[in-house]
C-alpha cells in the first residue's frame, strides 16, 4: 500500500509531464535511437559495460565508506584513500554517463519517463555531492597527499553512512527501472 502511494506521488510529480513525453517520442524517432532499437546486440553490450562501471564505482565508494568507519586502510589518511579511489571513480562515472546516455536514447520512454529512473538520477546527484563534500573536508583536514591518518569526525561518518545508503538505493533503482 505504502509503495503504491509512493508510486502515485512520484507519477504526479514527474511522469505526467506532457513535454517530457513529447520529448521521449521525438527522441525515439531519431535515427540514432532507431539504430539502437534495430540492432539487438547494442543494448546488451552497453548494459554490460554499464554494469562493469557500476562495479568500479560501487566498490570504490564502499571501500571509501569503510575507510571512514575504520574498517579499511586504517593506517592511511582519508584524503589519501579518496584521491586513490577517485582515480577509478571519475573515469567510471564518465563511462556510466556515456553508456547510460546510449541506453536512454535507445529506450527513452522506459527511462526518462520512469519515476524510478528519475529518482535514481536525484540519488546519483546527491551521492556525487556527498562524495566530493567528504573529499573537500578531508583535504582541508590533512592535505591532499598527506598519508598520516587523522581522527575521523562524526560529520565524516554521517556523510559516509548517507553515501552508502545512496549507493545501495542507486543500484536497486537501476534494477527496478526494468520492473516499473
Amino acid at each position: 500500500m505504502f509503495v503504491q502511494v509512493l508510486c502515485l506521488i512520484f507519477n504526479d510529480l514527474f511522469m505526467n509531464n506532457a513535454q517530457l513525453l513529447n520529448f521521449c517520442t521525438w527522441l525515439e524517432d531519431t535515427d540514432l535511437s532507431q539504430a539502437i532499437q534495430v540492432n539487438d546486440w547494442i543494448v546488451p553490450l552497453v548494459q554490460i559495460i554499464h554494469i562493469f562501471a557500476v562495479c568500479a564505482v560501487g566498490t570504490s565508494l564502499l571501500l571509501v565508506g569503510l575507510k571512514i568507519f575504520d574498517r579499511f586502510m586504517v593506517k592511511k589518511s582519508l584524503s589519501h584513500t579518496i584521491v586513490r579511489f577517485q582515480a577509478v571513480i571519475t573515469p567510471a562515472l564518465a563511462i556510466l554517463l556515456l553508456t547510460g546516455s546510449v541506453l536512454i536514447i535507445g529506450e527513452p520512454s522506459r527511462s526518462l519517463a520512469n519515476w524510478v529512473f528519475q529518482l535514481k538520477m536525484i540519488l546519483l546527484l546527491i551521492a556525487t555531492t556527498i562524495f566530493f563534500w567528504i573529499k573537500k573536508i578531508s583535504i582541508v583536514q590533512n592535505g591532499k597527499y598527506s598519508s598520516t591518518p587523522l581522527p575521523i569526525t562524526f560529520n565524516h561518518k554521517l556523510l559516509a553512512a548517507l553515501l552508502l545508503i545512496n549507493l545501495v538505493l542507486i543500484i536497486f533503482a537501476g534494477r527496478w527501472i526494468a520492473y516499473t
Binding site: A56, T59, L62, W176
Partner: protein
C-alpha cells in the same frame, strides 16, 4: 541425470520457489540485492588482482592491501551465493538449461580451482610475499593466476547479464 531432473523439479515445486515466483515484488528485490553484492564481489576481486599485478595501490604492500579488501569480497560473495541460490530455485529447470547460466557456473568452478591452486599449492611453495612485499607480479605464475581470475570474473558478470536476456520464465 534422472536424479538431477527430479531434484530440479523438486526445487522448482518447493514453497520457496513458489513464493518467489508468485510474489511480484520478491524476485526484483532479491535480484537487486544479488546485483549489489555481485558488483562488490567483482569490484573487490578486481582491486586485489590489479594490486598483485602492480596496476593499483602500489604504495601499500600486497598482503595488507589484500587483508583489507578480501573480507569485503567474502561477505559479498556469501550474500551473492544466498541470493543467487534463491533466484535459481525460483526457476531451477530453465536456469539449468540456459547455456549462459551453465557457462557462468563453469567459470565459478574454474575460479574456485584457480584460487585453491594459488593458496594451497603455489603460495606455499613460493611465498612471493616474504621477499617482495610491494611487488610480486614479477613471478610469472602469480600474474597468470590473477589474469585467470580477472578473465573468469569478467565472463561471470557478462553471462549473468545475458541470462536475463535469454531465460524463459515459467509462471507457476
Amino acid at each position: 541425470m534422472q536424479y538431477l531432473d527430479t531434484f530440479l523439479r523438486a526445487l522448482h515445486d518447493s514453497n520457496l520457489a513458489n513464493n518467489v515466483r508468485e510474489n511480484d515484488l520478491l524476485f526484483p528485490w532479491i535480484e537487486s540485492f544479488h546485483i549489489l553484492t555481485v558488483s562488490w564481489v567483482m569490484g573487490s576481486i578486481a582491486y586485489v588482482d590489479l594490486r598483485i599485478l602492480g596496476l593499483f595501490g602500489l604504495d601499500e604492500d600486497v598482503e595488507s592491501f589484500n587483508k583489507n579488501v578480501l573480507p569485503v569480497t567474502w561477505v559479498a560473495f556469501f550474500l551473492t551465493c544466498i541470493t543467487g541460490t534463491i533466484l535459481f530455485t525460483s526457476n531451477a529447470l530453465n536456469y539449468y538449461n540456459n547455456i549462459y547460466f551453465q557457462v557462468k557456473m563453469i567459470m565459478l568452478i574454474l575460479i574456485g580451482i584457480n584460487m585453491m591452486l594459488y593458496q594451497f599449492i603455489f603460495k606455499k611453495k613460493n611465498n612471493p610475499l616474504e621477499d617482495h612485499p610491494f611487488e610480486i607480479a614479477h613471478i610469472k605464475s602469480t600474474k597468470v593466476f590473477c589474469l585467470v581470475s580477472l578473465i573468469c570474473w569478467f565472463i561471470v558478470v557478462v553471462m549473468g547479464r545475458l541470462i536475463g536476456f535469454t531465460l524463459e520464465l515459467t509462471l507457476s
